[in-house]
């Protein structure tokens, strides 16, 4: 290849000292995410205030001038995400921060971001929905939306942190992934993690790896904005460098000009993530190997689940814990592998069933799938998770479809009346 950086030669840069406030802090998840973004080299945030994500935006606003960054509070969420897409094409690393209804408003431009292969990070501090729902309380019901919310076919990466420390760490990782694969990366946090205050250790700058943007290095006249490297990701140019690039949300060819039918190359938008899934996916596993039941969870629920798992283990049950750090792309291989070894999966989530459908899909009928739903407004009672594990361990039959565990809350509300 005459031009473009070879994908195999990874250039790893370290974080800029000025951007990293090395030390340990007692801060909440939202603020930690802002610090993480700055450490990752983010220089632009376009935001719009929405509970419970506002603290992250505010923290960024306060720090930005000291690191050469700039922020703008736009007139709405459509504006805030559109502004960061522009900032990215001007060469900045950029992020937007939102929650629930704001996320719904961003859908059109998430599609644009995916289509233009714009690397950006979106922090969604989930609250309970639908609609305005419970603005100040936790939810995890935007998980499917993050994958499917915009029109047309595209793939994104979604990460679900479960502590302020992870909000810091995974915001950096999110920026790295977005630069590497040139796709939207979403940090699907929740109100609990966002507002939880814990110790956060910010390491020294040279301990933080930064994925640099893959800038095109060849002759200007040969630049094709959408000609991919071997790993299916095209190198990028930025506005103002004299490439006179044209990019369009219309279906386009390598030059970026509109075409009137999709070509096999269009499928690159999904393939660049699907084929690299193994490299992207990160999971935390605990006592999986000889487990009968595996609890699959993410975000704050994975911390609540630990208590339920401990209770079950104390009763002698063999329970493994599989925490999805990366939720999208979904770890289908790992789930399919496990499904052949275990009796059942137990999936607690703060919604009425979203990721559980994916678990069921990948289990291919090999293991039972038990859902422990929670409508939102609070986290699970670990007792419910424990009971679901107990049930899953005892159930001898293969049950078709998802088994919904009736939680205490369900009984309280719906069985009291009838």
């Amino acid at each position: 290849m005459a031009f473009g950086i070879e994908a195999e030669k990874e250039v790893i840069m370290k974080a800029n000292k000025k951007d990293v406030l090395t030390g340990s802090y007692y801060i909440d998840g939202d603020v930690a995410a802002a610090y993480g973004a700055i450490a990752a080299g983010c220089k632009f945030v376009g935001g719009y205030p929405i509970t419970p994500s506002t603290e992250a935006f505010e923290a960024f606003v306060h720090r930005a001038p000291y690191v050469g960054g700039i922020t703008i509070q736009m007139e709405d969420e459509l504006g805030s995400i559109a502004s960061i897409l522009g900032a990215v094409w001007s060469g900045k690393k950029a992020m937007t921060i939102t929650s629930g209804p704001g996320f719904s408003l961003m859908m059109e431009n998430i599609g644009l971001g995916a289509m233009l292969e714009t690397p950006f990070v979106l922090l969604n501090v989930q609250r309970s929905g639908p609609s305005t729902g419970l603005p100040t309380q936790a939810g995890q019901a935007d998980m499917m939306q993050s994958r499917w919310g915009a029109n047309g076919d595209y793939e994104i990466i979604a990460i679900s942190p479960d502590s302020p420390q992870e909000m810091f760490d995974y915001t950096i990782k999110a920026f790295n992934l977005s630069e590497k694969y040139r796709c939207p990366v979403m940090i699907m946090a929740d109100e609990c993690v966002g507002h939880m205050t814990e110790k956060v250790v910010v390491p020294e700058a040279d301990k933080i790896n930064i994925e640099p943007r893959r800038f095109y290095k060849g002759p200007k006249e040969k630049y094709l904005p959408f000609k991919p490297d071997k790993d299916l990701v095209p190198p990028m140019a930025k506005a103002g460098d004299g490439y006179k690039l044209h990019i369009s949300g219309l279906t386009h060819d390598e030059k970026g000009y509109p075409t009137f039918s999709q070509t096999p190359d269009t499928k690159r938008l999904v393939d660049k993530i699907r084929l690299n899934a193994d490299k992207i996916i990160e999971l935390n596993e605990d006592e999986i190997d000889d487990a009968d039941v595996v609890v699959v969870s993410y975000g704050i629920t994975s911390r609540v689940a630990i208590r339920g798992i401990e209770q079950a283990r104390a009763k002698g049950l063999k329970v493994g814990n599989l925490r999805l750090v990366t939720v999208w792309p979904f770890p289908e291989k790992r789930i399919a592998e496990l499904s052949k070894k275990v009796k059942a999966f137990v999936v607690p989530e703060i919604n009425y069933g979203q990721i559980v459908y994916e678990v069921e899909r990948c289990a291919h009928g090999n293991a039972n799938v038990v859902l422990v739903p929670h409508g939102g407004g609070f986290v699970h009672n670990p007792e419910d998770i424990f009971k679901a594990i107990k049930y899953a361990a005892q159930e001898k039959k293969k049950v078709e479809g998802i088994i919904e565990h009736k939680t205490e809350l369900y009984r309280l509300i719906h069985e009291k009346n009838s």
């Binding site: 639908p130 609609s131 029109n151 999709q262 999904v270």
Partner: protein, 396 residues
């Protein structure tokens, strides 16, 4: 309830899918369209405008799709059956208000004429890329009803059905067509007014001071009232109690949101509609919907010439997904073949319901055009030759 003869254009007409949808809407009693123009849904708007004078319908072109759906929700509360028509990125813009419509339990119909995506994609290109978005596009948990016609005649019939479901269950119902069905013209038979079966929202009839906007009846659907009827009700997108007042607890969330989903899952057997051809002794079943299904029958007859036992399963209701039936079929057959004009959407759902009982082959078709019967036939043949069970979605 019977239809109002003013809106029903009884007779046989040469109509495009878009036009048939508007005729269906008028026949169903729709009298309000809030819209923002976007290809390839424009003919629908034109038709509505042309006929609005005759049927006394109100039309407003808003400044964007966000406000178009907001206006539709507002109009619906005045007692008018209301709809919006959009496409591609327009649907993405409507996501927030689909959530509001779900939460306020506002009956309305949204027609999405799918075009190739993502983003602007190909404005007049055929595609089926919004199938999952239709189910999952708004934040929070909800269930919705999504219908997909595959001919102008079905556009007419299903639009009436969509209005009936939306009024019965008080939900926004999506009619998912595509650029091909929307612009194809065929003869559409519109029955006489007396033959149309319409459902209208259940109105509250009790004393004014006794009205609770969100007190469910036994079908989990609360009776509605109209703005201006003197009930002086309050509704909010926040999690609310029976009075419609916000309550910020998880108990209230459970009491408020779960019935929003159960009112649909409970009656899914009455909602779900599909069309099966020769699935009884089939080894391979082709699952399709909308534009792709128009090619499938030809492909199947080609495959039969090769001696393959092929059946066809066409989704008319996509959401709620006909899970029970697909599970049953999966136990009897060797493979599903799913041609979709996208890079895999409903195929994932079928993989889930197949639960490892049969192979699932997915045929992605590039947006912008229809597949040829020969292509699908080739996929059917490939699928029938695979005797091993493969535990993943196989892309052809």
């Amino acid at each position: 309830m019977k239809a109002n003869s003013k809106g029903v254009l009884t007779g046989t007409h040469n109509l495009s899918g878009n036009e048939a949808i508007i005729e269906g809407a008028f026949a169903a009693g729709c009298r309000f369209l809030g819209v923002y123009p976007i290809s390839p849904s424009l003919e629908a708007t034109d038709r509505f405008l042309q006929r609005s004078g005759e049927v006394d319908a109100t039309f407003v072109q808003m400044e964007d799709e966000i406000s178009a759906l907001a206006a539709v929700l507002g109009a619906s509360w005045t007692g008018k059956k209301s709809m919006s028509v959009t496409s591609g990125s327009g649907l993405s813009n409507m996501m927030e208000h689909i959530g509001l419509g779900i939460m306020l339990q506002t009956p309305c119909v949204i027609v999405n004429v799918q075009r190739t995506g993502p983003s602007l994609g190909i404005p007049n290109g055929v595609a089926q890329g919004d199938t999952m978005q239709a189910r999952w596009g708004s934040h929070g948990d909800y269930e919705t009803i999504v219908l997909t016609p595959n001919s102008p005649q079905e556009c007419f019939d299903l639009t009436i059905k969509a209005f009936n479901f939306s009024e019965r269950f008080r939900v926004p119902v999506l009619l998912l067509t595509d650029a091909y069905i929307a612009q194809k013209k065929t003869l559409v038979k519109i029955p006489p007014t007396k033959d149309l079966k319409l459902i209208s929202r259940k109105l509250f009839k009790g004393a004014k001071n006794k009205y609770l906007p969100y007190k469910n009846d036994k079908n989990l659907v609360p009776p509605m009232v109209n703005v201006g009827d003197g009930y002086r009700f309050h509704v909010t997108g926040l999690t609310h109690d029976e009075r419609g007042y916000p309550v910020m607890t998880s108990e209230c969330q459970e009491a408020c949101v779960r019935p929003l989903m159960e009112k649909i899952t409970k009656y899914q057997d009455e909602i779900i509609e599909y069309e099966e051809v020769e699935t009884d002794d089939a080894d391979v079943v082709v699952i399709s919907y909308g534009a792709t299904s128009t090619v499938v029958s030809k492909a199947i007859s080609l495959a039969k010439k090769d001696g393959i036992k092929v059946g066809s399963f066409r989704l008319i209701t996509i959401w709620p997904f006909p899970e029970k039936r697909v599970r049953k079929l999966a136990q009897k057959i060797d493979a599903f073949v799913i041609p979709e004009i996208n890079f895999g959407q409903i195929a994932f759902e079928i993989e889930r319901c197949a639960a490892g009982n049969c192979n699932v082959f997915f045929v992605p078709i590039l947006g912008g055009g229809l597949p040829t019967p020969e292509d699908i036939c080739k996929s059917i043949i490939k699928a029938s030759k695979e005797k091993k069970k493969i535990e993943k979605l196989i892309e052809l």
